[in-house]
């Protein structure tokens, strides 16, 4: 996201109320993606574990927000050291940020940039949770999020977007998070999966989605929020590129949904709701890195290719036998890789960057850069996530007990169930702790 802002003349920059307002709205749009993701995932699991699935995303809003303010923003966007990590003491606790201090050469306050980027940091670990449905300890997951953002997300965000970050300097194009968010989360999902293992009954018991309307609702919220994700990534600069990103987001998503559905109709005979929702998300993922670099026609190609390839990729788990429950690898990793690499083919050279893709007379140079970005982020995230998960597994165990998994993780981990189907099965026993009546009596006595 930052290359373009460096082209603005620094001495002309003043705070823009319009851009600031736009970016605050974009930040709120990106925020809604995390609850949207929770519904997208929540609808796909069984009744007995829907609350846990919602919570695995929702908790990220709590944990990552605090860590981002304490040190995450400093690590990702502070002054670079060695291309690998940044630091700025003023960002720690947001303690030294002036109210009207602008972010770099942009026209928005540092606070606004920091909170916009925070929302990216929140949703990225939440994406991983889809691979782990039904079977991990909530405390282990919470600990994993805290460790993972610290040693994986914050550094990788710095590589890709931080000034001086090594992928940034290499001119790898990632407009809004194809590598830093989607490949990063998808590869992490694979790393954790290798430690956590399959659900009990994988490939044997039916594990049908319990609510496809929830999946559609979630996909709709994701699509809506994604406009903030992508169009906002140009930080409101007034050169039209944010608008192109917005248009590309819409058309690529549409094309991907159609691509997925077409594949599904040919392969399995029906146009399914889950396919439409999944195709849309695959398109959103794939256009994320590319939406500032390609034309709307290029975006249609990126979306359609991603829709078909991701629809094919979700079958890999049955072929290779890993239980990526809700297809984080098939949709986010594969979609992210497809979108990042296609920049090397479809970049027009006239939008975000001067770099041209293969189909626009640019040769293999940009494709090569994109491949380096893809492979390095993938491997780093995969290896470090595996190690983190292994350590957590050795220290406290990453999975719930077998009987808890079979009975449903909602009751075991959250002391709740999502739906009251029967209306039978026990009366009200009052509050935990002193009974309500008892407490009232005491008050009267006193």
């Amino acid at each position: 996201m930052p290359p373009g802002i460096l082209t603005l003349a620094a001495d002309k920059v003043t705070l823009s109320p319009a851009n600031t307002g736009f970016m605050l709205i974009c930040s709120a749009l990106v925020m809604i993606m995390t609850p949207g993701l929770a519904f997208f995932y929540g609808g796909m699991v069984r009744v007995k574990s829907v609350l846990n699935m919602l919570m695995m995303s929702f908790i990220s809003l709590g944990i990552v927000t605090i860590l981002w303010v304490l040190y995450g923003f400093g690590l990702a966007f502070g002054t670079d050291s060695g291309g690998f990590i940044g630091w700025n003491g003023n960002f720690a606790g947001f303690s030294g940020i002036g109210l009207t201090e602008l972010w770099g050469t942009s026209t928005i306050p540092v606070y606004v940039f920091a909170v916009f980027q925070l929302m990216f940091a929140v949703i990225t670990p939440a994406l991983i949770s889809g691979a782990l449905a039904d079977r991990v300890k909530f405390t282990a997951w919470a600990l994993f999020i805290a460790l993972w953002v610290t040693v994986v997300y914050f550094p990788v965000a710095h590589w890709v977007w931080g000034e001086g970050g090594w992928l940034f300097e290499l001119k790898v194009i990632d407009f809004a998070g194809g590598t830093a968010v989607h490949i990063n989360a998808g590869a992490a999902a694979l790393g954790v999966l290798l430690v956590v293992g399959k659900r009990i009954g994988f490939k044997k018991d039916p594990m049908r989605p319990h609510s496809l309307p929830l999946v559609m609702l979630g996909a709709g919220l994701l699509w809506f929020g994604w406009f903030g994700f992508n169009a906002g990534s140009w930080l409101g600069n007034d050169d039209g590129i944010g608008a192109v990103a917005f248009v590309n987001t819409q058309v690529a998503t549409a094309a991907a949904m159609l691509g997925w559905l077409a594949y599904e109709k040919l392969r399995h005979g029906s146009f399914t709701t889950l396919g439409a929702a999944s195709g849309a998300v695959a398109g959103l993922v794939a256009i994320t890195p590319a939406c500032g670099a390609v034309s709307p026609l290029g975006a249609i190609a990126v979306g359609a290719i991603a829709g078909v390839l991701c629809a094919m990729a979700v079958n890999l788990k049955y072929k290779f036998g890993y239980d990526d429950s809700l297809d984080v690898i098939g949709v986010h990793l594969v979609g992210g890789v497809v979108g990042s690499l296609l920049i090397g083919l479809f970049a027009t050279g006239g939008v975000q960057s001067k770099a041209k893709g293969l189909f626009y007379g640019g040769g293999f140079e940009q494709l090569g850069r994109q491949a380096v970005g893809v492979v390095c982020v993938l491997l780093y995230s995969l290896v470090v996530s595996y190690v983190l998960a292994k350590v957590i597994d050795l220290v406290m165990g990453f999975r719930v007990d077998e009987d808890e998994e079979v009975a449903g993780i909602d009751q075991a981990a959250h002391a709740e169930t999502a739906y009251d189907f029967a209306g039978a099965g026990g009366g009200t026993v009052g509050r935990k702790g002193p009974a309500l009546g008892e407490a009232l009596t005491k008050k009267v006595d006193a």
Binding site: R208, E264, H268, G269, S270, T272, L274, A311, V314, D327
Partner: protein, 112 residues
Amino acid sequence: MKLITAVIKPHRLDEVKDALQSFGVHGLTLTEAAGYGRQRGHTEVYRGAEYTVDLVPKIRIEVLVEDADAEELMDVVVKAARTGKIGDGKVWAVPVDDAVRVRTGERGPDAL
């Protein structure tokens, strides 16, 4: 007396109810049920993964009738429930020794 039990497709319920009413049946008992016959349910596809759903939703209707009416009533139900497609269901009759109307205590055919 006979107990007629019919397991039918849910969307044929209205036709069967109407047919029973025009036949002169005063009351019936209805249960939502699930099951399968020779057709063994159907297949659903989620992201390419196929799930066989063999227990499909059915409606189970029970009617008590006098012996003389039983055969004709079965025909009426069969005619109303039939779509000609697989999974239309089944109707059967079993003998019933006695019946009591709870409100009045009437027994046997009087209780019907």
